[in-house]
Symmetry: C2
Subunit: 139 residues, 2 copies
DNA sequence: AAAATAATTGCAACTAAGTTGCATTTTTGT
DNA sequence: ACAAAAATGCAACTTAGTTGCAATTATTTT
């Protein structure tokens, strides 16, 4: 299976997050951990060995976000993309670059911008930086 | 009508952009110009005096984006939000703040961040900064 | 000004992402 | 092994957006 190497890491993460350890949850988390970029529900499904009902996948992702082990990195088109929360600070993770030609997304680790200074009266809880352009393959 | 004061400005913008000047286009652009924040198709419809078919609204927005007089500022939930391109540089406009409590969006004009330095081989064409948190009414 | 041409609009039907209610199955604790 | 609680699956639904095509409106040509 695609997320094979991440299977035991996933098991530990679920336990630590206080989430029941079920097959579908292990499978989804393994896929996310094995991916080098945020994935949509569709992409997750494609990487699963045994099919999991889409409602279940959405509920698993919601539970992961609730437990803070995963977060919505961005939405592209009309789909949300999810990634594990490691590499990510409380207020922002790294910028995400999406190629306008091939559609591929890359995590720009280490390119994090400073935080916007909030206007008077506002409290900023999350900051998200999205980039669009051409990737090396498409330039 | 809501966008009344913007009606003649809209007329000029269409002419300058080389777009045919039709009633639906004038109406949609007037609404966008009168708004102080990006609007979804739904919000645009609600502010129109005479109803315009939704397909037409989407096509008008696509034409405006193509002509660069409007751009997609961000997507929230599963809907895209559009705003006129004034106040906006070629690569990025200002950050957009959305309140997690009331859902309102505010343009943080004057709070623009520096551009991410592209990783080797990448060409960045657009940068977008999204903020989430609590607005003054909801703190 | 009328006709021809090109662009825009509207309608119906469709797609894709995500959600809700409820019955069934799986986990967990005893 | 057994009961209670939680998670899963299915069907049906909602919402945002898209596509094909016919009808309308704007522009150009005669
Ligand atoms: Mn990432
Ligand atoms: Mn804005
Ligand atoms: Zn590319
Ligand atoms: Zn608010």
């Amino acid at each position: 299976m695609s997320g094979e190497g991440q299977y035991y890491a996933a098991k530990e993460m679920l336990a630590e997050a206080g989430l029941h350890c079920t097959e579908p949850r292990l499978a989804v988390l393994s896929v996310l951990l094995a991916a080098e970029r945020p994935l949509s529900k569709k992409q997750i499904s494609e990487r699963l060995d045994e099919r999991i009902n889409k409602v279940t996948i959405y509920r698993i992702l919601a539970a992961f976000c609730e437990a803070q082990i995963v977060h919505k990195a961005f939405t592209q088109g009309r789909a949300a993309y999810y990634e594990p929360g490691h590499n990510c600070g409380a207020v922002q993770c790294h910028p995400h670059f999406t190629c306008t030609s091939c559609g591929d997304t890359h995590c720009f680790l280490g390119k994090t911008l400073p935080l916007v200074k909030a206007e008077a009266g506002f409290v900023i809880q999350r900051q998200q930086v999205r980039l669009e352009g051409l990737c090396p393959d498409c330039v």
